[in-house]
Amino acid sequence: MSTRASTLAGRVMSAPSIIALFLWMIVPLGMTIYFSFLRYNLLTPGMEEWIGFVNYKFFLTDHAFFASLANTLILVGSVLVITVVGGILVGLMLDQPIFGRGILRILVISPFFIMPTVNALVWKNLLMNPVSGFFAWISMSLGFEPIDWFTQAPLTAIIIMVAWQWLPFATLILLTALQSLDRDQKEAAQMDGAGPIAIFFYITLPHLSRAITVVILIETIFLLTVFAEIFVTTGGGPGLSTTNIAFLVYTQALLQYDVGGASAGGIVAVILANIVAIFLVRLIGKNLDA
């Protein structure tokens, strides 16, 4: 159907977005790569010089890097496990006939719309405070000592907060996938004498596999760069116990003014994210033809 005029119009009309995104990607990325090879500290302007891979060497051999890489992986891994397993369970739960299901569904989805800074402060102060937080009251009511979350288990506290925020996302995606499950297939399996557990593992779970992959890949992209929750609660501490790569690069750049080192860290973060991204783009790409 495309005529020459409409093809031309198509080019003209898609150009602004393509050019804008191209600049947004290539200019900062190019600058980051360039800075990463410089000795460049904002406190000593005019002293920039080319130093090759020294920033990378320092960044990659610093114990802070390994600590934050480990924290990043633990954070991403734990949140993924909690949200995927939890999302399947809550999704299955919401897929049943329940009184007031529409309202319940909205309540369960809500945490996803809460801004990360609010999320972090509400959890830190109202729930996890060791003296008068809600969790402290629960522990004491059950006869336990309240946990001082941000001193005793800071990373766990961050994991809980972030998992709470992303559980709705997993639930929403998995519930949508569950609702597209063909009922006849399940009924046929029931006729053949399959129990609920067999139906779950042989029919429901395979049906969900694609949605699960989507959840894992998209969450990974966002979870690799968790920032606000750490920024407003622990500031990366105590020590390095809650510093992830995103936060480490931030501290180097805007607190230590080490542009060169931070840029090298930024490039490492980009490479890590891209390893994940390759899989995601493949997956979405396959879907595009369908």
Binding site: S6, T7, A9, G10, V12, S14, P16, S17, L21, W24, M25, L29, M31, T32, V90, D95, Q96, P97, F99, G100, L104, L107, V108, S110, F113, I114, M115, T117, V118, L121, V122, N125, L126, L127, S132, F134, W137, L167, F169, A177, R183, V214, I218, L224, T225, A228, V232, I245, A246, V249, Y250, A253, L254, V259, I267, N274, A277, L283, N287, L288
Partner: protein, 277 residues
């Protein structure tokens, strides 16, 4: 997993169980809302007070009386709407072109756009910060609108593309046969049919921009700071007034929570780029 409960009692018992789980997930938001109506003393009371406290609006009146709350709120509105409007202008035209005049490269272009979304913000924080500093864009609304717009543009193009693809081409062809010019075709035929898709794209983008915290925290100090930064300022030790914090938080999330409730079904498609239907 539609299971027909054998008895109404079974369904009732199951519903009670589901509501307990659902309320537990919702609890932090509920608790925030309740605390916002307490006095500071009641807010830290042990054991916690659920309903039996003196309800008060003093936290809300206190925060609203602080003139700078409105400044932050206004910034949030300007930033999220500004970036959404600019984004729509770019994304609608781009998605239209890709959906109705696809070329061999359209698919690759779409995937490439998505890949820009994979770039972690920390990877480009330093140059953006320096460019903003040198151009005097730090703490400016214009600068932040541009960042938010570019950050969400790939999602907007993708969402609109998936919506536009479902509009039957025959209708556009018929319009063209009847002598409609290209602008007429777009404004009078395509856009009216795409209103639901455009509306949900708009809502998703407003939600994402409203809640964005990385760039707002790093590129603003006061003038252009939105509610995300306002709330973050409560993380300092002198900001430990729980009831006030709760009221401020409630005010910060309420508008977007309501928007989210209305757009939850469309969100699945937007956030997964149509990969899950």
């Amino acid at each position: 997993m539609e299971k027909n409960f054998k008895s109404p009692f079974g369904q009732l018992a199951y519903s009670v169980f589901a509501w307990i789980v659902g309320l537990a997930i919702f609890f932090p938001i509920l608790w925030m809302g309740l605390t916002s109506f307490k006095s500071e003393i009641d807010a830290v009371n042990m054991p916690p007070l659920f309903i039996d406290f003196d309800w008060t609006l003093e936290n809300y009146t206190g925060i609203l009386a602080q003139s700078n709350y409105f400044k932050f709120a206004m910034n949030s509105v300007i930033l999220s709407f500004g970036s959404t409007v600019i984004g729509l202008l770019f994304a609608v035209t781009c998605a239209w072109a890709m959906a109705f005049n696809p070329t061999k490269r359209t698919k690759d272009t779409l995937l490439w756009m998505l890949s820009t979304k994979m770039m972690p913000p920390v990877g480009v924080l330093v140059p953006i910060y320096l460019v903003f500093r040198d151009w005097g864009l730090l703490d400016s609304r214009f600068g932040l609108i541009m960042v938010l717009f570019l950050m969400n543009l790939p999602i907007m193009v993708w969402m609109l593309y998936t919506y536009f693809k479902e509009i039957p081409k025959d209708i556009l062809e018929a319009a063209r046969m009847d002598g409609a010019t290209l602008p007429k075709e777009i404004f009078f035929v395509l856009l009216p049919m795409a209103v639901p898709g455009i509306a949900s794209t708009m809502l998703l983008n407003i939600i994402l921009a409203w809640n964005e915290a990385f760039w707002t925290l790093n590129l603003t100090t006061s003038d252009a700071a939105p509610l995300t930064a306002f709330i973050a300022s409560y993380s300092s030790p002198e900001g430990l007034f729980w009831a006030k914090l709760s009221a401020a938080s409630t005010l910060a999330v309420a508008p977007i929570l309501i928007v989210g409730w209305f757009s939850q079904k469309q969100l699945v498609r937007g956030l997964t780029f149509g990969a899950v239907k």
